[in-house]
Structure formats: C-alpha cells, structure tokens
Amino acid sequence: MAEPAAGEVLLRARGVARHFGGLAAVNDVSIECRMGEVQAVIGPNGAGKTTLINLLSGDLPLSSGRIELRGRDITGLASHQISRLGLGRSYQKTNVFLSLTAFENCRLAAQSRLASSMRFFRPALRYRAPAEAAERALAEVGLEARAGAPLAALSHGERRQVEIAMTLATDPKVLLLDEPLAGMGAEESARIVELLQKLVRDHAILLVEHDMDAVFTVANVLTVMVNGSVLESGPPKQIRASRAVQEAYLGTDDGGQG
C-alpha cells in the first residue's frame, strides 16, 4: 500500500459500543486517527479508554458500530488480522514474554511481519530481517544496552519501554498506545515523549495517557471520555478551556492532576 499522506484518516471508528451485561463500557464513540497526528484520549478511571483500544485492536468484539483501517472495513476481524493490516498496540498492563530477553521479545514481534512462520527446517537465525528490526526498535526506545537481558531482570520502566519497542518492531502505521508512560521515571518519560514526537511524523497515533503534561505536549487532538461516552473532542486549547471538561474530569480544584 502506498505511504499515506499527512492528514489522511487512517483509523476511523463510528458509533462503536461495547456492553458488559447492562454496563455500557463504551457507548457510541466515534473517533479518528490521522496520519501525522496524535489523537489523545483522556478521562477518569473507568471512562472506557482501555476498552476503546481493545475494540479498535480487535482484542474485544464490538457490540455495535463500525471500524475502518486505511479505508478498509475491519469490523469483526480478529486481532492478528488487524495487526497484519498495520495496526500496532501496546498494553497498559505490561504484556510481554517474561522469560525471553528484550531483544528476543522484539525479534518475535518483528518476525510476525514475515509472510509466514510456517517454516519448519531453515534455522530461524538465518532470517536477518527480524533481528535487524528488533535492534532498530530497541534503539528507538533507548534500550539497546539492555538488549540481552531477560525481561524478568529488567525494571518496571524498562519493561514498559520493551512493550513499546515490540509494538514498533511490527512496523505499524497506526499506533494505539495505552498509558505508555505509566510507571516510567522522569528521564524515561521524557525520552518516550520525544520518541512520540518523532514517530508522529509517519504514523497515526492514538494515545491514552494520564500524564497531562505529556498529553498536552504531544497531542494534536484530544478526546475526553466520561462513563463510556465522548464528552468533548477538539484541539488542546479548546479542551483546556472547556468548562464541561473542567467539571467532569480535571476537577474543580484547579490543579487536578498533580
């Protein structure tokens, strides 16, 4: 597929909903991610942000609604199919291969981009592309020095970096990042924010994040969710000034997010 132009809508969800019994975890949400933009989704705990990402990535089936990836209807596709169409996601709760090294984690991620892994005889080490992609991804998150360390021996923040590197190693066009900065130290956070600013040039990014400084630094569009629904959506300036958002989320006590 041709490289998408800046501003092109790569991921579009229309009226998506997910009910758990009587609870509407996500209710009639429409959202777009454009090439070259960071679409941030913010909201209090339980607002349905992670559920929304799970719906977009195919981890959870929709109750209703429709999702398009690069113009193609992906509603109802399995997560592995969506991944291969160019959507990569990271998890809020670190979701990695603990007994493998950082490098092996990323190499396994990159291996998924080969046409097929139903290859039984040729030694896996002969395939150079996954290893090279893994090295690049680790370098991008600044973890090349820890490549050989088993994840079980890495700090929480370093594992979060591996989580992002794995997502990058699958070479996606659309990135869904679920609280990438959670649990990272200040230095690591700054590095990832910088990485996001670089990545956004040739990706469409949907970012769920509680670190408001980071969100307002990188986001082009903000969508505020409350109780499963979109409260308001717009550029950072508009959201910062919105009274409804102030009341519902940022809190009445001005400082809100310490």
């Binding site: 291969f97 998924s112 892994s117 139903m118 290859r119 039984f120 040729r122 896996a124």
Partner: protein, 330 residues
C-alpha cells in the same frame, strides 16, 4: 561456547554405544532397549506439545494406539505387509486424527483442554473396546512383521531382533534431530511464544490457532510412529494401547524426565522402564514379596522426583553441567 559442542559429542557417543548393544548384549536386553526407545519417541512427541507449546494433552495414547491398529488392520493375516506403505499410512491416519481432534480441542485451554483431550481418547478406547470392528477387548495379532523389501532388495529384516532394534534406534535419532531442527526454526519460535503468552502473540499478528494445530498434528504423527513400532514389536494391538493409562504413563515420562528439553522425556521413558524392571525383581523379604508390589516403590520414586527435581531427571545433568562449565556466561 564449547558446551554445545560437548553436548553433541556426548550425544553421538551415547548413540554409538547404543548402536553396539545388539553385538554385546543378550536378546532380552536388546528387546528391552527397543521398547525403551519406542517409548522415548512417544515421550518426545508429547514433549513437543507439553514442554514447548504448553498444550497439556492427556489423550496422547489415541494417536499412538490408532497407528498400531492401522498396521494390524491393513496387514494381511499370514503374509508380510510392506513397511514402506504401512508406515506412512499409519502415521497419516494418526496425523489426520490429530487434525480432527485438534481442530476441536484447541478451542479450549487450561484444565478444559486436559479434559477434552482425555475425553476424545476415551471415546476411541471404547470404540475399539466395545465394538467388534477390530477384535474388541482381545485386540488383533500382527503375525508377520512388515517387510522392508525395495524391488527385491532387503535392506533389513524386522523379524530379526537386532535389525528391529537398530531401525528403532535410527528412527529415535531421526525424530530427535527433526524436532530439534523444528524447534530452532521460525515455527519453533512461534510455538514457544504461544506457550509463554498466547494473547500477545495474537496481538502481534500471529494466527495462533493455526500454529497450535500444526504442532498438534506433527506431535500426533510422531506418536503414531511410536505406536506403529510398538505394534510391530509386541505383535499385537489391544484397546489398552489407546487408554488413559497409557496417556498418563507417557505424560509421567515427560514430566519425570524434564519437560521442554526433548532429551529429558526420552531419558524419563528409559528410566521409568528400567526402574520398573529393577523393582519387579526385588527379593522377597520377611514374608513380603516386594517385587510384586513394585508400583508402591515406583510411586514413591515419582513423588520424590517431583518434590526434589523441579526440572526432572535431566535437571540433574544440567545443574552439574552449568556449575562446571557455565561460569563465564554471566
């Protein structure tokens, strides 16, 4: 990195020593080792599922037994069938059975997976046990072992104890090399990833079901190879070959030997059978025939290994090897 080379040298030495056995040992021991190697193939096939893909199949006897039955059913009663046609057919039927059962059971996981694999193998057990399609509870005899003739040339004779042993040994080595190769391939990495974190594998873009099914079929076909050889050696098949008892026994061999190591389960199979023999020959002492109650001691042995050796019997070697030569790796 001498440890890898050392391991290969040790294995080749073991293989050479095993190959010399029929020239030095009595017939009884040659037959015993034939049986041990056949069970070793069976255990390695199950280790692919349990140890590498994380699929705890409790119905592996199904593929083992069915291949034996296929040989018995397609062999002419008083003449030799051809090895070259019956072996692929027997393994093919096991693979097909694994494909059908796998397509159903791989939709479950965890404890349910254990239960449904058991249920399917028991269904098969009762099919052969309660109907007359293949001799019922009595089973069927394989009076004449398959012939290996190729256009009049006879490379070996399976009726000959030493020949059968050497063929089984070659197949054992072949299965080991085949599985090692596969585990080092792209496919091997995928099934390892599935064992560790299947959910993440899916979100990385792997259609995990397909890989698990492929693994299940390969494992079933290799279990079929073991069952085919067992039917040749014993000269008969009966429903017990398909029962949960055999499934449990091979699982014990895998766990006892050290799952996820391939050679461990093979060692586990051999150790259990040697131990069975040794315990059965325990003397009578104080009016109690210990040999008759060998299973009591076998049970104690299994409990001890489970408690003291978390990595199985092969863990003993590993720990020692690492303490000796692995210090420089940090």
């Amino acid at each position: 990195m001498g440890s890898r080379k050392l391991r290969i040298v040790v294995m080749l030495a073991c293989l050479a020593a095993l190959a010399l056995l029929p020239f030095v040992a009595e017939k009884f021991y040659v037959q015993l080792f034939t049986k041990m190697l056949i069970m070793g193939i069976f255990a390695m096939s199950l280790d692919l599922l349990i140890g590498y893909a994380g699929l705890v199949s409790f119905g592996h006897a199904a593929y083992f037994g069915v291949a034996g039955y296929v040989l018995a059913l397609i062999s002419p009663q008083y003449a030799a069938a051809s090895l070259w046609t019956t072996l692929p057919v027997a393994m093919g039927v096991s693979a097909l059975l694994a494909l059908v059962i796998g397509a159903l059971v791989l939709r479950t996981s965890g404890i349910y997976f254990i239960m449904v694999t058991l249920a399917f193998s028991q269904m098969l057990f009762y099919l052969f046990h309660d109907t007359k399609i293949a001799g019922g509870t009595d089973g069927i005899y394989v009076y004449v072992r398959p012939a290996a003739d190729i256009l009049g040339w006879k490379p070996f004779d399976l009726e000959n104890v030493a020949h059968l042993y050497l063929v089984v040994l070659a197949l054992f080595a072949g299965v080991f090399v085949l599985l090692r190769t596969m585990l080092g391939s792209l496919f091997g990495r995928v099934i390892e990833g599935i064992r560790i974190n299947e959910h993440r594998m899916r979100s990385l873009g792997y259609p995990t079901f397909r890989y698990k099914l492929a693994c299940f079929v390969i494992s079933g076909a290799l279990a079929g190879l073991a069952g085919y050889l067992a039917a040749i050696q014993f000269g008969f098949v009966n429903p017990d070959m398909l029962g949960w008892h055999v499934s449990g026994l091979v699982m014990m061999m895998v766990i006892l030997g050290g799952m996820g190591t391939l050679i461990g389960p093979a060692v586990g199979a051999m150790a259990m059978m040697l131990l069975e023999l040794a315990l059965q020959s325990l003397p009578e002492f104080g009016g109690v025939n210990f040999g008759k109650h060998w299973q009591l001691f076998m049970g104690s042995f299994i409990v001890l290994v489970a408690l003291l050796l978390p990595y199985g019997l092969i863990g003993l070697l590993r720990a020692r090897g690492q303490a000796g030569g692995g210090n420089g790796h940090g």
